[in-house]
């Protein structure tokens, strides 16, 4: 697009309008996060101030309770140590890493087969996956509970992991299917002409070139497992909870005890990994979102 020529002719009023719009949007998008991070180092009467929200900025009560210091880590101490949030963090790490690794392993194999098949049933599998992708997770959860109680596998991490892997499959298949379509067929077919079996061709020729697509898909698998609330809150026992259901179970009890700051600190702790993820993988996230769109 010939932006350079267009932008020269843009009237000043329009430029101001555009800039103002962008500034408003960026504030809208980012301010809630910065505000909450800032507020998590205050005490409750400051962050949830009944007098004036300037208290949250200057930390009037925080100073009074902390010998003059305007910042306090008591919310974090309460969440991580007193309420054992570190346990939930560990569980989240186990769940997200396992879900990502397993769904990518199954997904690359399946996506590769779908991309190379060209049969009618491959198309039907993709359509079925699209329908499965649309199922609200909580409807599936209501189907799991009774059988899982009966089989006595409710409440443990492996059950949730395998369920999240399955829920993730439709999306992973679609994404990797369209990625493998973009790898030329000749590549693996010439390997097969040279005497490789299909699987050997996949291992020796496709695996070395598939990493960009796998990383992008992996990011979204990670996000699905990390952001899930419906599955993990219903399928994990209290001891095995991951971060998000843990925070939701915080809410009820800490509000009564006047420890809302524990929940605020936990929320900020759970946000930090996502910040880092976007910081390092912004390009992959953007390309992943558009890959599905441009092809679909």
């Amino acid at each position: 697009m010939s932006q350079a020529t267009l932008s020269h002719k843009r009237p000043l009023g329009l430029t101001i309008l555009i800039t103002a719009f962008i500034v408003v949007w960026v504030i809208l998008a980012a301010f809630p996060f910065f505000w909450t991070v800032w507020g998590s180092f205050k005490v409750e009467p400051d962050f949830f101030s009944r007098e004036s929200w300037w208290n949250a900025i200057f930390g009037v009560y925080t100073q009074r309770q902390n010998d003059g210091s305007a910042f306090t880590g008591s919310g974090y101490y309460g969440a991580w140590v007193t309420r054992e949030f570190w346990r939930a963090v560990g569980n989240t790490a186990i769940v997200t890493v396992s879900v990502t690794v397993i769904s990518l392993t199954l997904g690359t194999l399946g996506g590769y087969a779908l991309a190379r098949s060209g049969q009618r049933y491959a198309f039907w599998i993709l359509i079925l996956a699209l329908v499965f992708r649309a199922m609200p997770h909580i409807t599936l959860v209501s189907g799991y509970l009774l059988p899982f109680f009966q089989l006595n596998i409710w409440g443990v991490l492996p059950t949730s992991i395998i369920v999240l892997v399955a829920i993730n499959q439709p999306f992973t298949l679609w994404m990797l299917h369209s990625f493998f379509l973009s790898i030329p067929k000749d590549l693996d077919e010439s390997a097969m002409v040279d005497g490789c079996s299909r699987f050997e061709a996949f291992r020796r020729v496709i695996i070395p070139v598939m990493w960009p697509g796998v990383v992008t898909t992996g990011l979204f698998s990670f996000l699905l497992a990390y952001n899930d609330f419906a599955v993990t809150s219903m399928l994990l026992s209290a001891d095995n909870q991951t971060m998000v259901p843990k925070i939701s179970s915080f809410l009820g009890s800490v509000q009564e005890q006047g420890n809302v700051m524990f929940a605020v600190a936990a929320v900020v702790s759970a946000t930090v990994p996502l910040f880092i993820l976007v910081l390092f993988f912004q390009r992959q996230i953007v390309s992943g979102l558009t890959a599905g769109a441009v092809k679909g």
């Binding site: 697009m1 010939s2 020529t5 267009l6 430029t15 719009f21 962008i22 949007w25 960026v26 809208l28 998008a29 809630p32 909450t36 962050f47 949830f48 929200w53 194999l109 399946g110 590769y112 087969a113 060209g118 049969q119 009618r120 198309f123 359509i127 699209l130 499965f132 992708r133 609200p136 909580i138 409807t139 599936l140 959860v141 209501s142 189907g143 799991y144 509970l145 009774l146 892997v165 399955a166 298949l173 699987f199 609330f229 419906a230 219903m234 998000v244 925070i247 605020v264 929320v267 759970a270 946000t271 996502l274 976007v278 910081l279 912004q282 953007v286 558009t290 769109a293 441009v294 679909g296």
Partner: protein
């Protein structure tokens, strides 16, 4: 690719989907036709040496446990759960239609039935948030496209945050800000000079804040997709339009928008699917008194002490039917395109 190799590659994935997506759907359907066992009552006579005898009715826990072990699903109920007050409420609607004081009365009374209350919020959320978020995303994409390269990166970074954030956490962050003692809530009180103003108290304001959250968290996705689409708008078409004297607005209206139309269909489809399962914001905003959704109803049935599997199953089946209705146009179109390609 030979059939055998194909299935060798895809089998693990298919098994996972069959076991944990297809089978649960069957299980939900079966569950929805069953209902919890009634309580087994026994009459116990307790006699005291001097007080005489008294008769008491108690729940026979031993017999209940035995029955539950025998038939964990509960007893067969047919379509009973679907038609009861908590779901389609056929009798109640019949009564309302037979005896009412006008159209407004019908609407309010039907809205007060739990299923229709949840359904109306779910549909409003779907069909208000999706177009608004797409419009906002398109506007952001147009604006970002005019920025110099240095500022594009950071703007995209901040724009991604509302989308990438865990829904429950994102809604909690906003909820804490709009509370009366949070920054936005307090400012609104100040601006409208109304010390009792609270976004939680009135249903209309609760709906408004949930819809606002929806647009906030959905807009970045449209933005990213449309922004990528803008990079592929053919430059020579734009230039020839300029030579022909098309204004800025006309270029957007007649070249950019038609070029992005296929992308818009895709975005609309994905966002409708995702918004139909709206659930976490209701938990995060503690909005269940004023706004519920289908997913929230299922969660509520399952989360209580007495887990109502039958009721949750029926709502789930109705939700799945909703999803299928939502998807039908897309499925028909894909089917036609596929046949077209083959022929």
């Amino acid at each position: 690719m030979p059939h055998k190799t194909f299935f060798a590659f895809i089998l693990p994935s298919l098994i996972a989907m069959a076991l944990f997506i297809a089978l649960p759907i069957v299980s939900v359907v079966v569950q929805s036709f069953h209902v919890e066992h009634g309580r087994i009552l026994v009459e116990v006579e307790s006699c005291q040496p001097f007080g005489g005898c008294t008769k008491e009715t108690r729940v026979d826990t031993a017999a209940m446990a035995e029955l539950k072990a025998e038939q964990p699903m509960g007893q067969f109920n047919g379509f009973g759960t679907y038609l009861n007050r908590g779901h389609l409420a056929v009798n109640e609607i019949g009564a309302i239609l037979a005896n009412n004081t006008g159209f407004g009365d019908i609407v309010t009374r039907i809205y007060n039935l739990p299923f229709y209350k949840a359904l109306s919020f779910t549909l409003v959320f779907c069909f208000v948030v999706t177009p608004l978020a797409m419009a906002l995303g398109f506007a952001i994409a147009l604006a970002v496209n005019t920025l110099p390269k240095v500022t594009k990166g950071p703007v995209i970074f901040f724009s991604l945050l509302p989308m990438i954030i865990t829904p429950l956490i994102g809604s909690l962050i906003l909820y804490w800000m709009i509370q009366p003692n949070g920054i936005i809530g307090a400012t609104l009180r100040h601006v409208f000079n109304d010390p009792t103003l609270s976004l939680r108290q009135s249903p209309a304001l609760t709906w408004f804040s949930l819809l606002f959250y929806g647009v906030w968290t959905n807009a970045p996705f449209s933005f990213v997709v449309f922004y990528a689409g803008l990079q592929t708008v053919p430059a020579d078409t734009l230039e020839s339009a300029m030579i022909d004297g098309a204004s800025r607005w006309e270029r957007i209206r007649y070249i950019v928008i038609p070029h992005l139309a296929p992308l818009a269909t895709f975005v609309a489809l994905v966002q409708l699917m995702d918004n139909f399962r709206v659930f976490e914001p209701i938990v995060g905003f503690s909005a269940e008194a004023n706004a519920t959704s289908l997913s929230w109803m299922i969660f509520n049935d399952l989360a209580g002490d007495a887990q109502l599997f039958g009721s949750a199953g029926a709502t789930s089946v109705l939700t799945i039917i909703g999803v299928v209705i939502l998807l039908t146009p897309v499925l028909i179109r894909t089917w036609r395109e596929f046949n077209h390609k083959v022929v």
